[in-house]
């Protein structure tokens, strides 16, 4: 009896720990090693320690592992282009081996790889907060020497290089896609109801009201992933309060309880109530293509998203893509903020390197293949806007031309909040924003929680 009881307790305990074991087990197997190697290394400057690089230096086989998220076309084709060029033509003797990981849990997998000493030699990131974590943990090499020796300074745009720079050093090379967030709209639907491209938020609202009156959902949005809805908030806040309101709130000199953030939240709340977004917006999944479906089936007339989506639309249906137009987020009436400010990223994927010496040189050479004139042209043909100087002359598609025109005019492009902010604060932003979209949290309360999360983070730092 007693033994049986003990056994059943043990059984329960074992079941209990299964998850705990999966959750943190992977990272812990190597923890002692990390600890051993870390003795006294805490004060080391970022960039000086190369935990995985040391192992790689003695590595005999000349294979560069490259992690990225290009699981589908056209991104996959573009990546294959650059890598194949390298594998066939390089004189370095190295070969690049690609590991494509699903976007959804790419970041998580990367963390596990890094913590278990299996960090890939090359990997893509979205820069921002996570990139800073990688750099400070020693998983990204400064690239200044290689960069200025190469042809890249002449090829890449300053804005994109600046985004891969941290503490005055270049750590990540932009490859793919200038993607400013703006509104794609269905020209046929706009023509049918005689609608003009709105220039102010007031005009946008009247466009939405007309669409609603005709049984069409104004915006195709799927907000289960949270960052999708955040785009509306970022733009509204930027239009109401400019960029300084955000940057100063983020560095602690300002506040997330600033009027512009609360007003942006109130506008979203109002739009949700009016029905500008699909019903059950928080249950729709962007990753499962539910926003695209609404847009493609012409049940929704507009979609606010990164201009990088143009290549996806083009890839899915050329015919539908030709129906689309694009305009930047309208400006706010009666507020004196810079109307050219945009939200977006200067290069949708950035490559960082976790290798040294000869291997780093080879890996860097591989990346330069993206921005050769032929490489850039290849991307343009696939509907992308590579972060390359003089790209406007290469692009012939009118929609992409408009995008580039506005992107070039922009006085500043703010990286998405959820990438820019430290991950813990970004998480609070995403969660509170989703609740505002679900009408379960007041914008003022969301702002309060954001401010608290950021203060906590800054205090920890």
């Amino acid at each position: 009896m007693k033994a049986k009881k003990v056994l059943s307790v043990l059984l329960a305990v074992t079941l209990t720990v299964m998850l705990a074991a999966c959750g943190s087990g992977q990272s812990q197997e190597v923890a002692p090693k990390a600890e051993g190697g870390a003795a006294g290394s805490q004060e080391e400057q970022p960039g000086e320690k190369k935990p995985a690089g040391q192992e790689n230096a003695s590595d005999e086989d000349k294979v560069i592992t490259f992690w990225n998220i290009t699981t589908g076309d056209p991104d996959k084709a573009i990546m294959n282009y650059a890598v194949d060029q390298f594998n066939q033509n390089s004189s370095s003797g190295y070969q690049t081996e690609v590991v494509a990981v699903q976007n959804d849990n790419y970041k998580e997998k990367l963390i596990i790889a890094m913590s278990s000493g299996e960090c890939p030699d090359m990997y893509t990131s979205w820069t921002g907060g996570p990139m800073i974590e990688y750099i400070e943990s020693g998983f990204a090499q400064p690239l200044d020497d290689l960069f200025y020796k190469s042809d890249l300074p002449n090829r890449l745009t300053e804005g994109s290089i600046a985004q891969g720079t941290y503490n005055g050093h270049i750590y990540a090379i932009p490859v793919n896609n200038v993607s400013v967030t703006g509104i794609f709209y269905n020209k046929e639907i706009f023509d049918k109801y005689n609608l003009q491209v709105p220039e102010t938020i007031g005009q946008l609202e009247s466009v939405c009201d007309t669409l609603l009156g005709n049984g069409i959902t104004p915006f195709a949005l799927a907000n289960q992933e949270k960052w999708t809805g955040s785009q509306y908030f970022m733009y509204l806040a930027t239009r109401y309060g400019g960029l300084d309101a955000f940057t100063s709130a983020a560095d602690g000199t300002g506040s997330f309880e600033d009027e512009c953030f609360i007003k942006a939240g109130e506008t979203i709340k109002n739009w949700v109530k009016k029905g500008y977004f699909p019903e059950g917006v928080n249950s729709l999944s962007w990753n499962d293509g539910m926003a695209k479906q609404l847009f493609y089936q012409e049940n929704a007339a507009m979609m606010l998203t990164g201009s990088g989506m143009s290549s996806v639309f083009m890839n899915d249906s050329e015919e539908f893509f030709n129906k689309l137009g694009w305009f930047p987020f309208p400006v706010a009436e009666g507020v004196d903020t810079d109307p050219t400010l945009m939200i977006g990223t200067m290069g949708d994927q950035f490559i960082s390197f976790n290798c040294t010496g000869e291997k780093l040189e080879a890996a860097f050479e591989c990346v330069t293949n993206y921005s050769t004139p032929e490489g850039a042209q290849f991307m343009v043909d696939k509907g992308k806007i590579p972060p390359v100087k003089g790209i406007e002359e290469k692009v012939s598609n009118p929609l992409l031309k408009t995008v580039i025109e506005y992107a070039n005019k922009a006085s500043n492009v703010q990286l998405y909040y959820d990438q820019y902010l430290p991950p813990a604060v970004a998480q609070v932003h995403l969660n509170t924003m989703q609740e505002v979209f679900g009408l379960t949290m007041e914008p003022a309360e969301a702002a309060k929680q954001m401010q608290k999360a950021n203060q906590d983070y800054l205090a920890e730092k």
Binding site: T14, A20, I111, S137, Q224, N282, L284, P423, Q434, F437
Partner: protein, 301 residues
């Protein structure tokens, strides 16, 4: 003479111990490496401030644990786990028992149901999550369509912070009830045919037979099913992760999804490990407590 026998006896005892140890070694090593060591290491890491990838970790003592005690998000997540636990036990076990009883009483007539009803448990959680996010969709989903037949409007289940948790619990029950059905079917086979015959001869109806004979005999199985269900609910992860990702907001966040977000999205492995360790303590203590209570009620689990 006597001395020698004693020596032989102890030698034999030692040999038995050695053999036992050798046979147990593979399992023990496996458990030590993949279960016991990670648990200890989780507790260890919970005393550090660590982003999960850097070589350096900063020892911060009980700070993570103090945060854990004051953490409203963790409490909310634990509360959600308790709701799942209560509803799992209240729905899955009776439903499983009902299905098993139906099959047992119907004998071969309903054999096909045994297969059909078990199918949900054979599907992967990700597939189930994907399936149900369409089935429960606000626009054109099953519930919305039914509501429209009766003149209601669309029903937003997964996107509502009050209903999402219950919607997912419904799906969890759909997935796990068949497991308990099989569990109780196995328990039924332990009740010998003679008992049923004797009861019938004594004039018991099927209902009486079930309430007064089967149920008391199944008591031990019911208890361990309850413990299984409880532990399962407290460490639950998959369907929530697939269907709501903890949202809207943090309304369906569970202890396990919270731990996952902290460790792998927020670069806070130290606190994530603290949450994992906290979970471990909570689940262990609750299991022990429940078992004690159940045993006091009578019978042997």
């Amino acid at each position: 003479m006597k001395k020698k026998t004693k020596a032989l006896a102890s030698l034999r005892k030692r040999e038995m111990l050695l053999t036992g140890m050798l046979f147990l070694a593979p399992v023990l090593i496996f458990l030590a490496v993949f279960v016991i060591y990670p648990i200890i290491e989780s507790f260890h890491i919970s005393f550090f401030k660590w982003n999960g990838i850097s070589a350096g970790r900063e020892f911060i003592g009980w700070k993570n644990w103090k945060t854990l005690f004051m953490d409203g998000n963790f409490r909310r997540a634990a509360g959600n786990n308790l709701i799942i636990m209560a509803l799992s036990i209240l729905i899955q076990i009776p439903l499983g028992l009902a299905m098993a009883t139906f099959l047992e009483f119907g004998k071969k007539k309903f054999k096909v149901f045994k297969v059909v009803w078990f199918i949900p448990h054979l599907m992967s959680s990700v597939a189930i999550g994907f399936l149900f996010s369409y089935a429960l969709a606000t626009n054109g989903g099953i519930i919305s369509t039914i509501s429209k037949w009766f003149g209601g409007g669309n029903v937003d289940l997964l996107g509502s912070s009050t209903l999402a948790l219950y919607a997912v619990i419904g799906v969890i029950c759909w997935q796990f009830s068949p497991f308990y059905m099989v569990y109780f079917l196995a328990a039924y086979t332990n009740i010998s045919e003679e008992i049923y015959e004797a009861a019938r001869i004594d004039g018991a109806t099927k209902g009486k037979y079930f309430w007064h004979i089967v149920l008391p005999l199944l008591k031990p199985s019911l208890k361990s099913a309850a413990i299984l269900s409880m532990v399962g609910a407290l460490k639950y992860f998959d369907l929530i992760y697939v269907m709501t990702g903890g949202g809207p907001g943090s309304s369906t966040e569970l202890m396990a999804t919270y731990m996952y977000t902290l460790s792998f999205s927020n670069f806070n492995m130290g606190y994530g490990s603290c949450v994992a360790s906290g979970m471990f303590l909570i689940i262990t203590l609750m299991s022990l407590f429940t078992m004690k209570v159940l045993n006091r009620i009578g019978g042997d689990a």
